[in-house]
Structures are given as structure tokens and as C-alpha cells.
Symmetry: C2
Subunit: 235 residues, 2 copies
């Protein structure tokens, strides 16, 4: 099959596709789901509270200027969530954290990345995750060879949505903001990248409401399989 | 009755008591509660989602460096919450926003402030609220004469927990951090003020779990009526 080519469509002039990792390429609910044997009906509430606190802690630490890496914050958030749900089980805590290093990729991800690469587009991750977490996740998903760059906020020492994070992608890829298509399932991340100046595809997997924040994603989709068509990739 | 005097206790050397406003002095749930006729079973979920998004938006805007005043953010959060719950009612929206300007004070607040003033302590509010919102709330609660200062983040142009906000209290009161007792019902605010160096009373009205964030409140109480005893005020 010949490489797909770019044609005129809603996203034009794109040179690189940059992806958020957690929630966008990797299913953050899959760690708790794999412990459903121990968690039972508490699986979904624990996964939701863990994620909510994890994000809260990134925002609060960022605004305070008290950065800690994402592994620490993820553990802190899990400790809060387990305590809030009355779960005191060190083995389960260790199991959940271990699983967070090898989250499931969403099913469309490997084929999508192959298609983008075949079309000559550059691909990258831009994530809150620490380099070690991202390496483990990418390796587990078998997508390491399909990514030109795996960028961690650790290189700027502050979490999303600080503008320094989005600037990191521009600096490392050597591209202006408007030639980058940024994909995120997290509305706040999608809006912030748009306000920063990137072209944005909001992969609204969870049917969230539009945020009332600066910025406006260019396109809203339900999963990433729609991305090639948005970029005008044929066939 | 003679003025109470300070004695040695868990909080010593305190010259001023600084209070968070929303959730601490004023009941943020009271706006939705007064619309229970229209909201029915949706009253508590709407109040919770409105508050969650309001805080999220302050943190996200702060970290992005895209400040807007708290009235705007409060309206944005309400719009999100109403949309998420499928409520499309402009009159109800206006009614809720109007009520947010005249939230109920918690019952112990007026007597507490009178007691602190009688003991010669200085009293202040340090809040995300805009000056107009705070003036309306303080006037409605009848506590304007019991406060030496009403400090708004608008004077520094960024929301809590940015350190510039806590510094504002020090600058305006002319006091070092460790001679200020800061009271907040919001765990993240209490932890941040502690990390900044203030003495902190976490008024944990809602039975929240301890946050896993920098800092450690000096004391945890269930409502503010316990504060005079913590400060060693007699009788």
C-alpha cells in the first residue's frame, strides 16, 4: 500500500501529531479494572477518585510552585482515594501502582500511529508522566518505534497546563504551534493547548461537557480512529 | 464581661486570625439549597459539581497564567454544571448567581469574630472572591465591622494556592507568617497556607480526608467555635 497523502480538510498544514498520554493513549481506568477481583463494586469509584485527586494534585502543586514527579503524585492520589474509601491494604496499593506502569493502550492506538508515520507525519507524546513511567507504558503497548519523541513535563519541572509544557513540544520538534495537531481526551488539556496556539483534536472519550475555559478545540471526536480522516489522509 | 486573654495553648503568639471565605465563613451550598424548589433531587449534585468546577477553573487559570475574576469563574462553573445536568434555564441561572452574592454565614461566625476582636486579635478575610462579591457577602452577614481587612486575590491577579496570595496577607497586616492563624475549610488551602509558613486551623466541616500535599495544618476542628479555646482565650 502506498503511503497516504495529505489533502485539504479541517486540519491543514499539520507536520506533527502530539498526543497526551494518560486517558488519551492509555486507559487510566485499566489499573483499577484489573483489580476488580479485590475491589468489586468499588472499582469504578476508586478509579474515578484516584484520577480526580491525581489531576488536582498536579494543578495545586503547579500553582504553588511545589513540583513533584508524576509517580509521587500518582501514589499520593491513590493513598487519598484508598483512605477516603476506607481501604487499608498495602498489597493492593502496590498492585495498583504496579499496574499503572503498564496501562492498556486504547485499541485504535497502534494502527493509528502506524498510519500517521506512513503518511510522513511526526508523532510524539507530551505528558505529565515521568520519563520512567512513559517508557514503561510505551514499551508495554509496543508503540516505542512509532513515536519520534516522548516528552515529559519533568524537563520543565511543572505540570500541564502551564504554558512551558506546550512550549516544550514546539522546542523539541522545532515546529510552530499551528503546525502541530495536539490530541487529548482531557478537556482542560485540550482547551489549554488551543489557548496556547496549537491545533487541537479533543478526543472526548467520556462524553464530557465542553469546558468554560480559554481556548476552543478545533475538532471533537469520540476516539482517535477519526484522526487520519481529519488530517486528510486517504484510504 | 472582661475581654478574654491569651494563655499558652496549641496556637501561641498569634496576632491575627485570617479566614478563607467560601466554605469557611460562608456556606457555598446555600445558594443551591435556596433553589431546592426548582432543583429537587438535583440540589446537592448541582451544588457539588458547581463547587468542583469553580475550584478546578481557579487552579487551571492560575497555572496557565490566564486569570479571570472569581465572579466570571463562578458563572463559568455554573454554566458547566447546569449543562452537565441537562438543565437549560436562564432564570434559574440568574437566581443562583444572585444568591451567590448573599450566601449564608455559618452560624458560629458572628459570635466568633466578636470574641476574637474583644481579645484584641486582628481579623481578616483572604479569599479568591472579587472585592464586590466579598463586600456583598460580608454586608449580608452583618460582619463588616468585625473585620479589620477583607483581602481579595484580585490585588495579586492569581488564585490560591499561589504563594503570592498568602504573602498578600502578610504584607497587608504587616505580620510574619507564624503570627497569623489561618482558618480554612478547604483542605488544599489549609495545606498550602501551612506549607507557606502560616499557623493553620483546618476547619474540616465536611469530614474530608487529609490531603497528600506539602504542609500540615496545626489543628483540625469541625467548626470555628473551637478556635477561641485553641488560641487560649478564656471563658
Amino acid at each position: 500500500m502506498a503511503p497516504a497523502t495529505l489533502t485539504s480538510t479541517s486540519l491543514t498544514g499539520i507536520k506533527a501529531c502530539v498526543f497526551d498520554a494518560y486517558g488519551t493513549l492509555f486507559d487510566v481506568g485499566s489499573a483499577a479494572a484489573r483489580c476488580a477481583d479485590a475491589l468489586g463494586e468499588r472499582t469504578a469509584p476508586l478509579a474515578a477518585l484516584w484520577r480526580d485527586k491525581q489531576l488536582q494534585y498536579t494543578w495545586l502543586r503547579g500553582l504553588q510552585g511545589r513540583h513533584a514527579n508524576f509517580w509521587t503524585v500518582t501514589g499520593d492520589a491513590l493513598d487519598y482515594a484508598l483512605a477516603a474509601m476506607g481501604i487499608d491494604d498495602a498489597d493492593l496499593r502496590d498492585r495498583l501502582m504496579g499496574l499503572y506502569r503498564t496501562l492498556d493502550a486504547f485499541p485504535e492506538v497502534p494502527a493509528l500511529l502506524r498510519r500517521l508515520k506512513a503518511a510522513g507525519l511526526r508523532t510524539a507524546i507530551l505528558s505529565n508522566g515521568s520519563p520512567a513511567m512513559l517508557e514503561a507504558a510505551v514499551t508495554h503497548a509496543g508503540i516505542a518505534d512509532l513515536l519520534d519523541a516522548v516528552l515529559s513535563v519533568e524537563d520543565v519541572g511543572v505540570f500541564k497546563p502551564h504554558p512551558a509544557v506546550y512550549q516544550l513540544a514546539l522546542d523539541r520538534l522545532g515546529l510552530p504551534a499551528d503546525s502541530i495537531s495536539f490530541q487529548s481526551s482531557n478537556g482542560w488539556d485540550a482547551f489549554a493547548a488551543s489557548a496556547f496556539g496549537m491545533r487541537v483534536v479533543w478526543c472526548n472519550r467520556y462524553g464530557q461537557q465542553r469546558e468554560r475555559l480559554p481556548g476552543a478545540p478545533d475538532v471533537e471526536v469520540r476516539d482517535l480512529s477519526e484522526l487520519p480522516a481529519l488530517l486528510g489522509l486517504r484510504g
